[in-house]
Symmetry: D3
Subunit: 306 residues, 6 copies
């Protein structure tokens, strides 16, 4: 592993020394808000939008980060610059922000921020291997029996690291197929989200995706909608259910690392003819055009190296 730097609450420390106290509220309470931005051509994509959303999450959790949005952007860009040399010429990276309320006092009032927030910012190589083959083949999407946390318990739009339910749901999906990607339902049985990603279907040439009443308000989701509109593809936000997934013309997920991940199987059933569909391909091409980089090629190149 190359010697990347990590920003921790004001300091730049080597990757291997990037540690926090086991008494941090990040560890004790899952009390961490987060954003994951990726670069294209080593430029952070929609960094301002990610930081805006980060500050919404900070507001709702009443964590004081001790710095302004502009300062947050500045240290983020600085970190990217510092770590530039650790990435190859055509390599991209994640830029991840994790901010916790800082030290937690056992037996104390967990709602009070008794120290400075713990600000963790790091970059990581854009490993796309887990998804690379899915651009051509499509993945197998599976719905587990457990359901996403309802908004009245914890709003999915508040991006946070209390994510155990995601891991448990994903485990259940992988009982069906070790390569499966979960599509979780909400407590009413409506399609909600993939762990950290959004769900889209194509039906009769239109793109349909759940409203954000039960899922993450993904920036990749928003970009996909922008791309679709620029290609004159109609986009509808609506309640969708497993029936819609099984009978869709095309199905895909969106998330920061892979942008768009096609699915060609759902709960063991082949989607349409089992091939990645034409609108999914158009959107992938539109994404590539938008970010100035062949998204699919970048991922597939990793298949050959590794």
């Amino acid at each position: 592993m190359k010697n990347r730097k990590v920003y921790i609450s004001g300091d730049l420390v080597p990757d291997s020394e990037a540690k926090i106290s086991i008494y941090d509220s990040a560890v004790l309470l899952g009390d961490t808000v987060t954003e994951s931005t990726r670069t294209f051509n080593y430029k952070p994509f929609k960094l301002i939008e990610h930081v805006d959303r980060l500050y919404k999450s900070l507001k709702l959790t009443r964590i004081d980060p001790g710095m302004t949005k502009d300062e947050m952007i500045e240290v983020s860009e600085n970190l990217l610059a510092v770590n530039k040399e650790t990435y190859g010429d055509n390599e991209d990276c994640w830029l991840v922000h994790n901010i916790s309320r800082g030290l937690s006092i056992t037996g104390g009032n967990p709602t009070l921020q008794v120290s400075k927030a713990t600000i963790m910012i790091y970059t990581q190589p854009m490993i796309l291997l887990p998804w690379a083959k899915f651009y051509k083949e499509g993945c197998h999407a599976v719905t587990p029996s457990s359901r996403v946390i309802p908004s009245q318990s914890l709003d999915p739009r508040l991006k946070n690291r209390s994510r155990l339910f995601y891991t448990l749901g994903e485990m259940e999906a992988k009982l069906v197929d070790p390569d499966a990607q979960s599509i979780m339902l909400d407590i009413h049985g409506n399609v909600a989200e993939n762990k950290g990603g959004n769900i889209f279907i194509v039906r009769d040439g239109k793109l349909i995706t759940p409203t954000t009443a039960n899922c993450l308000e993904g920036l990749t989701r928003a970009t996909t909608i922008e791309v679709a509109k620029s290609l004159n593809i109609e986009v509808i936000e609506a309640v969708i259910q497993p029936y819609d997934l099984s009978t869709a013309d095309e199905l895909f997920m969106t998330s920061t690392p892979y942008s768009i991940m096609p699915a060609t199987k759902y709960n063991g059933l082949t989607i349409a003819d089992g091939k990645v569909g034409p609108i999914t391909k158009k959107l992938l091409q539109g994404w590539s055009d938008r970010v100035g980089l062949d998204i699919v090629k970048q991922a597939e190149d990793q298949l050959h190296i590794h």
Copy 2:
């Protein structure tokens, strides 16, 4: 702070050096199971039961701790022995276990345990200050509008550290009164739990508490039921609702640090005559008898010191 030791994945390190990587799944995914045991007279109370429950949580999260229950008990007792000298003669402590799936690979499969589990065990002084005055006065319990996570999303009995919803609920309760202790409802409007604690009412001489279909299966809850039975107080598990709290004869919470915390106000309404009730007092005395230590006195002594 005295120089206590912490057990981290096989090593005993000083408190101040007890750190984990920011890439640990504890930090990135709230993917940590946990138990908090307390000592009475510096003997861990129901340690075997806590470790049993810990291994249930490990099983459900499919985390391999890399050690048996007996080994877990052994290192725990050893840690208590090592840290003994840092506590005063009559001092008690928490013994906390936090176990995560270990390092998380960004872009990797979060359901695979790719390294050894991160085992964090530490002791901390039994700070009872936040609750000490409530033994005599009772606290003010308040119900926030947000609801506990339903079992079909994440079972509360699986003790874990993805606890952001608890903190947000507690914050909401504290808008009413900075000293308020939250009592959260489930999504059907039934009384569920206090963050990490259980709820009991007394009505017509009987103790009533929710079944564990919507809340933590607390060991303190279980001990309170045992104590009640030993005192010939009938205990009923039933669905209870805010109406039952407001009109109860007595109301209290149970949790590891304080055992029993009386509440004399609920949502601004005085419970009965506003004094800690006779059955609550009997149960506190029963607890003290059971553990061989005056629970109330221990807590109140801290009021005088600090």
Copy 3:
């Protein structure tokens, strides 16, 4: 108090003598449908629409008012004329209709109308003091834990006087802040309504308000939408949740007395920069233009008098 007249089932009686039997179904069963119309420049605003909605409520409750819509409008306008002299030159008033099924027979069949309906129509000075300061400062909106009655129990669009749940919800909100105005959720955790009012947010220049599947179909809501459209502000009806309120650019409520009441705080969190926002101000101005009267000035004038 000036000597205003009240219309009761055909008679005009002085305010102080406006009484009904304690055996009226209004008292015994909350079996009363209602409308509240206000005047601008002493002209009733959308009286026909209010009476239309009143007759929908009468239909659903199967109360026979014993008079036609036209007769209802006529006696209402007549009452306004009779009471005109009791109001100052620039004073406005409420015009309230309450219609119950009439006398209730204890032990009788509550679904049968055994006597003439009790028709209560009265006017009251347009006291705006409770809200006057909020036009400039914004109010503090708070969400209580109790939820609005679901449509399958009693549709909120059927305007009625069985309103105890509103009062209890409002009491809970006022535990946080004595001046708080409640925003209640429905049983799924979605934003529903303020007691007798509707909720709007502004996001990215667009106005968003819940559909009427879980709240009153307010005429003030409808007028606000009309005003917005006349100002080329896009209006979207959608499911919204507490997250949307906390992160909104602007937040306000609508109801007959105050038309639009800005909120600048929600559950203790400041909305945007804590000031009444530009779109809210434009809508208030649009309302004033529409009704030919400076709504804000009218309310604020009361601050100086009282």
Copy 4:
């Protein structure tokens, strides 16, 4: 109508003059708590329990009645004494308490009690005609599609006069049969209550009734359980559903006026052999023994008079 007296906020006034302002919160907000006690042999049955429950309702609605429980009992008994002469020798009566928050100020804060509470206490002849024939024949119970208000919106145990949903549900049931008595379900489809009454079934010799998590905690329900136990009939509180009603051996309702009302038909299906069952009869006899009066005879005598 004989010249009975009514107690209104300190005064005894003739029945015909028992009126309240149309601005009372009873009329404007359904903001009234209530109890209905009946006499047996002109002695009020369980008056203390009724007044206890009344004060629970007052507490929850934060209405200050301005008098103690003892004073409430005293004025109630005094009213019974005053009205004694208006009842025949063997006549019984209702004793009804309705207490509202008093005058409501339009545009004011509905949660503040700005005047003295309005205390209405009256007696009424024990008209049992609507139910008299059902003791022998049984009634037809029908379930409407609308559902009782869930506890998280307004707890049914808080006895109040915001009862419009009861009337609407009853109307729906009477579409099936003009003599039908409604049995309403809760929002989960479980049996809840009859408007103001509780539901019991007999299965295999045992009495089964819903827990009070979704219905009124009836004093007649409690007395019926006491009577059953005194007769060595086992009583179970459990979730019951329409299937249980249709397939029950016996079905009845309990409420203050009629004590026990047998049902021999449910949604058009005959219960068992269509006759009032042996356990229902035993319970009716037990009730009569308990109150020292033949309940059935008293009701049926009214059939002959009228």
Copy 5:
């Protein structure tokens, strides 16, 4: 009965001999998918769309019909041709497809198709008598207390023959009126569907119908929307509730046999003025124009014959 032929798994057999084994999964498990197409002028209407939907249902139930869509269409059209002589000149017919998984093995794995699918295709005279009078008078729509099966249990869009809940709901509606047509709600109390049909209202000149999140995605529904659009009538898909039905300007249902069936009463309340409304009439005329046949006349002619 004329000697019509039925297609059963490859054979054409006379109507009276069209039988299947009592061990067929159609009988034992309700494991049958289905479509009902009708002819206009003896031409099957939207047969391709019906067959497309049939194959969606086959896919979801994982039944292999053993023939392609084209073959299905061919045998269907052939059957229509063969049976042509059994219908009069102006007579139309149903064309019904029922396909089960074939023989079921008691004690076997019900998810395995152990034999060829049972393919039942038949035609039947287009008996419109039950609805004929409703075109002019409108029917009485009634909502039963039981609710449609939620999508998370069995999606209504998967057209199948496990329809007992429809029959039970319809029975409940007919308790109110033997001619009633049921309108069932979903478990949240929103309007869902008529047994096998969809629901529309007209409000302020616009057509409103539930989204297909809780009901059948009817082809007659789709055609009605097409007809409406061709007539410049705005169509909105939205959540609707019983309040909307009672207060609608017009109300009707859509289903294959009758196309559009007006309702002029709902739960005993008259819809608007109790007459079939102008937009309903326009749509009926639009339908007739679309299919080249006077739909109403065809039905009413049957009134005179029979």
Copy 6:
């Protein structure tokens, strides 16, 4: 296949000729009630109880079978006698009753029984092969994402043949493991039932099973409870959730063919030590004692033959 007889609506016909019209409401509407009784030593077990329950289902579906319970028992026993010769000396059989409303008229009123009910009674060899190995090894229980139909849509206690949702849920479970047996949850996420069977766990020596509020009221369930009580094993009816299954000491299902089927894996997790537990074994032995036949041996013998 031996030449067994089948009873169809009064006639005894050979197995291979046991057919019903494709127009039967069994085929068209899943409108069939059912019971499955098995023999032990060729004596039908609890036949009276099964017929009693059958008549409850007939009552609720308002199907008139045209024969009394006694007649039903008589023809059933006669059929067993007639078919006796087709079974070997130690062979047992199912006795299945399926009763539909008879012929269905397309376009007719599905709630009217226009012909005689179709009464299908047949016997079948007691094939236990699918489960035989599970007595020793235990099966793998898996929970699918789809949920059982809620009682308010169709009560599971009304035993019927509209069972498509069971098949779809079972298919989903078999995606995880082709031998998996489904355990379905209700719409609240609580454990409900196996397709046609009930679920039990053992915890701390006690037997726990869901109440029948969300599942079939199985006669095998009842017998298992009786057997447990006779062995002094405490039985508790309670809400249970997937957490309870994963952490149970023992887990099994009950249904007519196999009586008790142990599960040693749940959603891929091993139950306890992965062996069939001691209480399960005791109950199996108790069952064998009760019915006078070694249940396990009978099943395992089939493994050797086949």
